[in-house]
């Protein structure tokens, strides 16, 4: 029998893998992929709560808004990454240290 806990465990694994991606990858696009993993795990939690609670579909509505924000976020983030590539000729986050100098 699959219960709420199983979904929460998968979502926790997805979340921590996303954190790992954000923390350890140098490429900015790859960091974005980690952020998408985190957003997906949050969505999975919301939909699981919506399924197993006695309320209506509020969790699914939240998940839809998260998807909308994720779409807007990835568009703006890729614009920033492209601008960074144009200015610095690299998308490695450790080389984007102009403010340090």
């Amino acid at each position: 029998m699959i219960t709420l806990q199983h979904y929460l465990l998968v979502s926790a694994a997805l979340f921590s893998l996303g954190i790992l991606g954000v923390l350890t990858r140098k490429n900015a696009v790859n960091v974005l992929m980690g952020i998408e993993l985190i957003l997906n795990s949050a969505n999975l939690n919301l939909v699981a709560f919506s399924r197993f609670s006695s309320k209506g579909i509020d969790g699914q509505m939240f998940a839809i808004f998260v998807i909308v924000v994720a779409a807007a976020e990835v568009a703006v983030a890729l614009a920033i990454v492209l601008t960074m590539y144009r200015m610095l000729k690299t998308v490695n986050l450790d080389q984007a240290d102009v403010l340090k100098q």
């Binding site: 709420l4 893998l17 990858r25 919506s50 699914q60 509505m61």
Partner: protein, 166 residues
Amino acid sequence: MSATDVLFLIVAVMIVGSAAGVVLSRSLIYSAFSLLFTFFGVAIFYVLLGADFLAATQVLIYVGGILVLLLFGVMLTHRLYNLNLTTERFQLIPGILISFAVFVCLALAAIQTHWHWVGDKSVQPTTDTIGRAFLGDYLLPFELASILLLIALIGAAMLVRRRSDV
């Protein structure tokens, strides 16, 4: 074990495995294609959870939109004659420690909490309810989301325009 449980296990392994592929693979293209399997796995989970509209939205927006955008990002930020699209890692040990600590905390919270979940609700089509909710209780967030998308559209176009034609 019922067929649903077997499907759940297969998809859970697929999601976690491909997410690990996204994070650990050296090639950016492999990372992007692993992300495809993660998104599809989450969509299958939505179907198992009775969220049919959300599953279709997941496939359309994440697989059809966000993943393609990310692939564009990978392709556009490398010189085309230098096609080893690899990435390096840094802070590997602290990253693994922190993400493992986060996983342990979340898993303990998920297991030890006494959830008041109801058993089997009957699964019904959600599209009708979601549509009514968008034009009823969620009208203000719905309009705000449209404004947010417009702002993101203008902002993204602003950011990547050529500086010469300001």
